[in-house]
Symmetry: C2
Subunit: 323 residues, 2 copies
Amino acid sequence: MTAAPDTPAGGGGTAAPILVVGSVALDEITTPTGHRDDVVGGTAVNFSAAASLFAPVQLVGVIGDDYPTHELDFLRRRGTDLSGLERRPGRSFRWGAVYHRNMNTRDTAYTDLGVFSEFDPSLPPPFRSAGWAFLGAIDPALQLSVLDQLDAPRLVACDTMNYWIERTREPLLEVIGRIDLLTLNDEEARQLSAEPNLVRAARWIRRRGPRHVVIKKGEHGALLLTDDDTFLVPGFPLDGVVDPTGAGDAFAGGMLGYLARCGSVTSREFRRAIVHGCALGSFACEAFGARRMAGLTVAEVEDRVRHFCRLTEFDVSPGPVEA
Amino acid sequence: MTAAPDTPAGGGGTAAPILVVGSVALDEITTPTGHRDDVVGGTAVNFSAAASLFAPVQLVGVIGDDYPTHELDFLRRRGTDLSGLERRPGRSFRWGAVYHRNMNTRDTAYTDLGVFSEFDPSLPPPFRSAGWAFLGAIDPALQLSVLDQLDAPRLVACDTMNYWIERTREPLLEVIGRIDLLTLNDEEARQLSAEPNLVRAARWIRRRGPRHVVIKKGEHGALLLTDDDTFLVPGFPLDGVVDPTGAGDAFAGGMLGYLARCGSVTSREFRRAIVHGCALGSFACEAFGARRMAGLTVAEVEDRVRHFCRLTEFDVSPGPVEA
């Protein structure tokens, strides 16, 4: 598989590329609204579907010979370099899940690692100088290997999950000590820090190394804690969720894509980046897999960001109470 | 018990009085941070502790002869009229609860209704012309009785809970058809509407009558849906929760107190009212019972509202993406 570097980036412009390393999967998803099999998904795909709207993406992952690679054409058209997507003999990573009626909880029906069990990310030489990197929630040993292959990225973000927190705590803490931004969900933050309070959990994580911690709260939004800023954002209120799979990865993709596009990580831009992440996370829920993001434009994202602003803004100028 | 109308209202000024009808209880609370018994609480007390910062309050409730009424002196000093607080022979309403480590879930240890089981709210004549009213989560039959006793309030808000949704659905729907604002938590909204999506649940409730619906999401903030506005606010991030009991009632008290003080229910003021409600709800969590609110000043509330604004604001002015 080769990239198509001559096609224009969807919103890439002159932004430095973002490296993403993570799963590329085929999902079987059942929600109260329907059932789909062979859905193109996984962290690397959902992240790229969001990030590629704003910056060129370099994807590193592994697939089997059953993967419908033409379904990733939309990523290529947006300037995503798929030369790091290795194809191996065997079956692709397959994951099945059934969502409950409230859409916030799900049961995993099966996890077939397939060729993903042998995943050993090797960065093509041009990827080593990526300006930005996102390490999906894979084995911390692999995350460390990727860190060793990178030259001098401006910002490395990393995700993790309960499985690695429980089983590989020490290497995970080593990863956390070497990155700039940890993204994880609220339950994972509590589990990692053994601290039930989220603000304290985020502080605990920051003391282990990362300058920035973003705690994802699903439909309840996100919390950012950095050296000099705390930012709190509610979730975008959707009146129809079709499939929440991948929303967290789309959030990370929107956030990092926006930062890469800006080229700076000031508080002002980081706050806007998180709002863009929320917008992408909400779009991700509107269709199965990455389908909604595949057809999305930057103008639609900006519309949603403005809508989000109208939904949440309030003024504290002197009113009757202060008068 | 008589009111002390000659003492100045904490922040009342010329605001029209707010009537509150609800439980006045003695709580026994165990949280990971400690244990307290005979804590002065209940809906009417926690609501009044918040609302009395902004407007005069008229409290209607019932207590037994074991109630330490001197602990309500702070309400009297803020201009709360307690002439509707009936004292009966017998024990006060007592409620015991044990909070789990995450502070978001709790087990009820016991509920002793005592004299509250005979509660039949009768409004003193001066209370019938209240400008604003809040009906706590009591039996809908009693809520209807209060509605019948009111002259022509500007706005009537009402709360409810799973107990009444399950057992007295029809009278509850009759109440909902006669009020202006329903406040309830997310699980109650889902239960009442049989609609797992919160935005749709709020729309369902609005179709039953109330112009305004406020869904309380605990630590995750609140959602407002009205004729012409949707407003979403995250919860104030506390790094130390002592006791969440009564936070929802304090939220309602802060919100209605602020509206009464403003005297208007424009979108702009309603949004600010909800942020004031979030601020009061957060203060309520900082000590057992209403203790933190008892010592609170309007200046502290306004400080927190400004802090809340700094935590949540972001700008969507054209940036690199739009350029």
